[in-house]
Amino acid sequence: MKKILEDLREIDAGMVCAALAERRCYASDASQVEGLADYVVRPESTQQVSRILRLCSEENIPVTARGSGTGLSGGASPICGGIVLDLSGMNRIIEIDSENLQVIVEPGVIHEKLNMALKPFGFFFPPDPGSSAMCTIGGMIANNSSGMRSVKYGTTRSYVLDLEVVLADGRVIHTGSKVLKSVAGYDLTRLFVGSEGTLGIITRAGLRVAPLPLARKLVLASFEETETAGRAVIMVFSSGITPSACEILDRTTLKVLKLCDPNLALPDDGDLILFEVDGTDSSTAESALQIQELLGPLAKSVRIASGQKEMEAIWAARRLVGAAISRLDPNRTRIYIGEDVGVPIKEIPSLIKRVQQITTKLDLPAMKYGHIGDGNLHVALFIDVMNSDQWGKLELAADRIHRAALELSGTVSSEHGIGLARAQYMPLQVGEDALNVMRSIKKALDPKNILNPGKMGL
C-alpha cells in the first residue's frame, strides 16, 4: 500500500490523503451505503485522472468517482476500497458558447453556480435537482439526474452533447461533438450518462443549454383525495398545458414545509399540487388562469401564488424538504431508502395508496412528495436511528415500496440512481438478459472491473 501512495505522488496524481479520518469522511454519500477507500485523491486535470487510471489499471486498484457526495444510492461509496477520486476540484466553466446554445464545463462545477453564470446570457441548464446548490454537474451526468422541471425539460441526458471520458486504462476519448444533432455511430454519450462511474471517468462535458423563460407562475391546488389530485394532473396535461413543474406534497410534507418557513401560506391538510408554468408574461398568466379554472370544480382550494417572492419561498422550502423532516420530530431522522420510485403517471394515486398501506402497517411515519408530472414519488421514511427495531421495519418498508413500484410497471429509481442501495432489484427491473448486455458493455470498457465495482447489480 505504501508503494501505491508513493506511485500516486510520483505520477503527480493531485492531492492524495491516506489518513483514516479523511477516508471515513469519503466512505459514504447521503445513503446508508458505506465503504472505506485506501486513498482519497483530488485530481485537478484530465492528465492527472488519466495517469491515475493507468496506474490503477496496472495495479488492479478500484476507483470510485465522486463529486459532492450528495448521491442517495451509494454510487460514490468505495465499497471495494481502492481510490476515491474526488473530482469536485475540477470546477472550471471552460466556455459559455451562447451562440451555439452550449457550455463546456469540468465535472466539479456546481449546478447552481453554472446557472448563475448562464443567467446573464439569458440561458439555463434545465435539469434541477433539489441539491442544486451543492451537487456537481459530473455527478448529475453520472446519475442522469433530474428534478422538478423534468416534466417539461427532461433529464440531464437530454442536454449532454459531448463528454471527455478517461477510460479504465487511462485513454481519453470524446463521445460527441459541438453539433446539436449527430448520428455518427453508437451514441456513446448517452451510454455514459447514467453509468454511475462504472464505464469511465467524466472529465469534461459539453452541455446544451436552454433559453431562460421570461416569466414563471405557480398555481397551488389542494385536494381531499390523492386520486382526485392524480386526475387533476391528467386533466391539465389533456388541456394542452405542459407545466414546467408539477409537484405533489402530502399533508406531512406540508407540515414540514411550514416548519422550514412559517410564513408560507399553505393549506393544513389534503394533498397539494404545485403547477408551475413558464414562458412569457402573457402566456404564463393565461396558462395559470386556465389551470385555476380547470381545477376549480375538483379542488378543495386553488389559487395562483401572489408573486415572485411567494413562489421563490415555496420552491426554496420544497427543495430542502427531504432533509428537513427531522424538524417534525427531533428524535427521528430521515433515512434515504426506498425514496425514489417511479410509475407511469396514471398510477401515481395507486402508488401513494400502496405506500400509505405499507407504512401504516409497519407503523412508520412517512412523508410523500414528488414529481407527479413524471410519475416520480419521493417517500421519506424517518425513524429513531437509536432503535434497532425501527431499522428492520425501515428496510422492510423500502423493499415493499420498491416491489410495489415494479408491480405497477414502474422503476426503483427515477432520478437518484441504482448504486448499491437498489442494485438487488436490477434483475427484476430490467430482466436477466438485459442485465447481461449491460455486463458485456461493462466488460468491454472495464475488463479488470476497477471502475466503481460492485454497483448497479453488474
Binding site: R24, G322, P330, I335
Partner: protein, 362 residues
C-alpha cells in the same frame, strides 16, 4: 478510545442526513476542499470518535479545529443540526483526555498564566489615562476584553469615553472572559469565577462589551443575573443622547457582521441604526445571517493562520465598491480582515462614532 457523548449530542449527530448542504456554506471547507474540513465531515469524525472506530490523530484534530464556529452551517442546515455545539463538545472531550494541538496547548497555557490571550504581562488598563475616578460600585461595567485592552487601546479608550458618561465603570482586575478557552475545548471556569467575583463585589447589574467573542461568552457562560449588552446595542439605544444623528460624516461605509454578534445572537439592526445615523451604509454582498465569517474565530486564527487569512480574503471580496471604511464590532474580525489586506480600512463601530463626534465638535 471511545469519546463520551451524552444522549442529546448523539441525537444531534444522528440528525445529520449527510445531504451536503453545508458544502455550500462552510468557509473552511471552501478554502480547503477536503471533506474532513467540512461540517458534514466533522460530524462523521465526531460520530466515529464516539463509536470508538477512529483514533484522535492529527487529521482528526485538524478537522475539528479548523471550524471557526461561525454557525452559518447551523442556520442553513435543513435537518436542524447545530454543528458548532458538537464541535466544541468534541474539542472538550479530547482536551479532557489531554489530546490537543500544540496551538491549543500554547493558547491555554498563555491564558491561564497571564489572564489574557497574548501572555502580556503589562497593565491591562494602560489605555486608561485617569483611573482615579473609577467607581468601586456601579450598575454597569465596560468589559474591555483582551484584544481591545492590549491591541486596540485607542478603541478601548474611545469606548470608555462614550460609556463613562452614563456612569459605567470598569472591573478593577479584568481577566480574559474565557471565550478562546471555551471555543477550543478548555474549562475556563476559573476565569469566569474571578470576573464574576469582581462583578458581584461591585454590585453590578449588567455588562457592556465591544467584543463579539466576549459578548457571546458573557451571555452564555456567566450568570444570567447580569444583563449583557454589546456596544452596538448600547449605542443604538443612546443615539440621541450621544448626539449621533444628522449624518455628520459625508462618507459611505459597509458593515461586517461578526458571527458571534449576528448569527449567534441576532444583533443585526443595532449597528446599522448607529451607522445610518452617522453616514451612508452600503451593504456587503453577503450580510446579516448570510454574512461570511472573517475566518478568525474558534481558535482558527491561532492554529491555522494561512487558512484563517484565506477565509478573511474571501470575506473581503464581499466588500462593495466605493466604501471608505469597513466597520465592524469585533476586534478579532478587525485584526483578521486587516491582516488579510484591508489594513486601516477596517475600523470598529466605536471608531466611526468617535470620528462623527469629532466632526460635530469641529
Amino acid at each position: 478510545m471511545k469519546m463520551n457523548l451524552d444522549r442529546m449530542d448523539k441525537r444531534s449527530i444522528n440528525r445529520c442526513v449527510r445531504c451536503g448542504s453545508c458544502r455550500t456554506f462552510c468557509p473552511a471547507f471552501q478554502e480547503s476542499g477536503w471533506e474532513s474540513a467540512n461540517t458534514r465531515g466533522r460530524i462523521i469524525v465526531i460520530k466515529s470518535l464516539a463509536e470508538g472506530s477512529l483514533e484522535a490523530d492529527s487529521r482528526v484534530l485538524d478537522s475539528l479545529n479548523t471550524c471557526t464556529t461561525c454557525g452559518i452551517c447551523t442556520d442553513n442546515c435543513p435537518a436542524g443540526v447545530n454543528p458548532p455545539e458538537l464541535v466544541e463538545c468534541a474539542r472538550r472531550e479530547l482536551v479532557a483526555r489531554g489530546i490537543m494541538t500544540a496551538s491549543q496547548k500554547d493558547l491555554s497555557r498563555t491564558i491561564f498564566q497571564s489572564g489574557n490571550t497574548f501572555g502580556d504581562r503589562g497593565d491591562r488598563l494602560a489605555w486608561l489615562r485617569d483611573r482615579s475616578r473609577l467607581s468601586e460600585k456601579a450598575d454597569y461595567v465596560y468589559f474591555v476584553g483582551c484584544m481591545n485592552s492590549y491591541r486596540y487601546p485607542e478603541t478601548a479608550a474611545r469606548s470608555w469615553e462614550l460609556l463613562r458618561r452614563f456612569g459605567v465603570s470598569l472591573l478593577p482586575s479584568e481577566q480574559c472572559c474565557g471565550s478562546p478557552l471555551f471555543r477550543t475545548g478548555f474549562d475556563a471556569g476559573k476565569l469566569v469565577d474571578e470576573n464574576t467575583r469582581q462583578m458581584q463585589q461591585m454590585g453590578i447589574k449588567g455588562i457592556i462589551t465591544g467584543c463579539a467573542g466576549c459578548y457571546a461568552t458573557l451571555k452564555k457562560r456567566y450568570s444570567s443575573r447580569f444583563s449583557v449588552l454589546s456596544i452596538p446595542e448600547f449605542l443604538s439605544e443612546h443615539i440621541s443622547e450621544l448626539g449621533l444623528e444628522g449624518k455628520a460624516l459625508d462618507i459611505t461605509v459597509t458593515y461586517h457582521d461578526p458571527c458571534h454578534l449576528g448569527r449567534h445572537n441576532g444583533i443585526y439592526e443595532q449597528p446599522r441604526r448607529v451607522i445610518e445615523a452617522i453616514c451612508s451604509l452600503k451593504e456587503m454582498k453577503a450580510n446579516r445571517d448570510a454574512a461570511r465569517c472573517c475566518g478568525g474565530g474558534g481558535g482558527v486564527r491561532a492554529g491555522y493562520r494561512d487558512l484563517s487569512l484565506k477565509m478573511a480574503r474571501k470575506r473581503l471580496l464581499d466588500v462593495p465598491e466605493g466604501v471608505d471604511f469597513i466597520v465592524t464590532s469585533c476586534p478579532l474580525c478587525i485584526r483578521n480582515l486587516r491582516d488579510a489586506g484591508a489594513c486601516e480600512k477596517v475600523i470598529d463601530l466605536v471608531d466611526l462614532v468617535a470620528m462623527a463626534l469629532a466632526q460635530k465638535t469641529r
